[in-house]
């Protein structure tokens, strides 16, 4: 009896040690390959990390579904927006000629762009679905410049891991990893369905990210920062969303 229980004890101990070591190695590898989201702490951290890591491995280069023009939703559903700030009203009165996008952080050449400058770069369009975490959705044509083009203009440094993006609306900011930032369908969007991007949809400039749900496609973008860590931003959870109880990674 004592023999069996000793053997059992040893096997159980070895299994537990191997398990802990295995988890440690897995965590180290995940950290090395950028598979740990900034909001990995807390009771929901394990589920979030598993979701982000597995989707990042499966979808690093995959393209969001695109639709034929006939499937564009008429009209696109405008979600409610906060009342515009005084600064926004002033810029809108000037037809957004003075709207500026500033880009800094881990870049070789920090720069500021007007909407016209962004429009001077090769224009791309995509007919993709915007789906809200609440459950509703619509399909629209989004016209803009791929974020990767602007990042190439400013020259991203090799240690960069995230791009944080900020709205003119207070406390509205998000971030994405470099896989999403350099993804060909991640746009700085200034047009929709053949025309200007309406204010109701985030005009004059919206970051469009079709592989994540709608709240990551932040409206009224004025500022981008390239960084190697989200620790210094807000509460260090990666974006404003986790501070309100929502996940940083929203590929769902």
């Amino acid at each position: 009896m004592s023999k069996i229980s000793r053997r059992k004890l040893i096997t159980t101990g070895l299994t537990a040690a191997a398990g802990v070591a295995g988890l440690g190695v897995a965590a180290g590898l995940a950290q090395k390959y950028g598979l740990i989201p900034p909001d990995h702490s807390g009771i929901w951290g394990l589920g979030e990390t598993l979701t982000y890591a597995s989707q990042r491995l499966l979808t690093r280069h995959s393209l969001a579904r695109e639709f034929p023009r006939s499937q564009i939703s008429k009209p696109p559903f405008p979600n409610e927006i906060e009342p515009p700030t005084e600064e926004f009203k002033r810029l809108q009165a000037g037809r957004f000629a003075d709207w500026r996008l500033s880009v800094n952080g881990m870049v070789a050449r920090p720069a500021t762009f007007s909407i016209d400058q962004l429009k001077s770069y090769p224009s791309h369009s995509q007919i993709t679905m915007l789906q809200c975490e609440e459950g509703w959705s619509y399909i629209a044509e989004w016209i803009g410049v791929p974020l990767s083009h602007v990042l190439n203009v400013v020259g991203v440094l090799p240690q960069a891991r995230y791009v944080a993006y900020f709205s003119i609306e207070p406390d509205t900011w998000e971030s994405i990893d470099m896989a999403d930032a350099l993804h060909p369908q991640t746009f700085l969007t200034y047009g929709m369905n053949g025309g200007e991007l309406p204010v109701a949809h985030g005009g004059p400039l919206r970051l469009r990210l079709p592989r994540q749900v709608g709240y990551k496609s932040v409206k009224f973008i004025t500022h981008l920062t390239v960084t190697d860590s989200m620790k210094g931003f807000g509460k260090g959870l990666g974006s404003a969303a986790p501070e309100f109880g929502y996940a940083w990674y929203a590929g769902i």
């Binding site: 929901w44 394990l46 589920g47 979030e48 598993l50 979701t51 989707q55 499966l58 979808t59 995959s62 393209l63 969001a64 579904r65 639709f67 499937q71 939703s73 009209p75 559903f77 979600n79 409610e80 679905m129 789906q131 809200c132 975490e133 609440e134 459950g135 509703w136 959705s137 619509y138 399909i139 079709p210 592989r211 994540q212 749900v213 309100f244 109880g245 929502y246 996940a247 590929g251 769902i252």
Partner: protein, 205 residues
């Protein structure tokens, strides 16, 4: 669901498009036309975190269960009905007996009856795979890598509607399952489920 208690078929749907059906409940967003004059508090953040954490528990424990079920012959031995049981006569007899609330005999109580076997097989091999599939088909990231998973369902909103009905079926199964466990003797049955042994005589069977 509470933030948008409207369901659609096809790729897209929102407050401006016709619905397949609406749940007669208030919403947690005031843009949704529900007919109620008030909105419920927003619970989307923590409930979604909980949902996906629970989904991982279902997938990981479900995988273990399926692997061991096949390796040990559990599915073949205990769940696959015998050939003799698969006639209409046997099936209608079993259903009629069930509806009359007939107690199983001592011999029958030691294995799953035909209706249990069919219900468990349906839950394990139809409902759970379907709920995981329809859930993944709603993910814009997942379907970017595997677009067929949503296209064959008829679109992202179709996947959401199907996910709703399959999850309802699972909830219904859980309720009936717990009801039957209660009916058969809650303590002894739960003890048997956890330990795999029947250590006391089957009470109330």
């Amino acid at each position: 669901m509470i933030s948008h208690p409207r369901f659609y078929w096809g790729e897209t749907g929102n407050d401006l498009t016709p619905t397949l059906f609406k749940l007669p409940i208030p919403a947690s967003r005031h843009l949704v036309p529900t007919g109620y004059g008030y909105v419920l508090p927003d619970q989307n953040g923590w409930s979604r975190y909980l949902h996906f954490q629970a989904a991982w528990v279902v997938i990981l424990t479900g995988l273990l269960y399926a692997i061991f079920g096949f390796l040990t012959g559990h599915f073949r031995k205990n769940l696959l009905p015998g050939n003799a049981d698969l006639s209409w006569r046997a099936l209608t007899k079993a259903i009629a007996g069930h509806l009359r609330f007939e107690r199983p005999t001592e011999a029958e109580a030691w294995s799953y009856n035909l209706i249990q076997r069919l219900a468990y097989l349906f839950v394990i091999f139809v409902l759970f795979p379907l709920v995981i599939w329809t859930g993944l088909a709603m993910s814009p990231a997942f379907v970017s890598a595997f677009p067929a998973t949503v296209n064959v369902l008829g679109g992202q909103q179709s996947a959401r509607t199907l996910h709703f009905f399959v999850s309802l079926a699972l909830v219904l199964f859980v309720l009936v399952h717990i009801g039957m466990v209660w009916f058969a003797g809650f303590r002894s049955r739960v003890w048997a489920m956890i330990t795999g042994r029947v250590s006391r005589p089957m009470e109330r069977i």
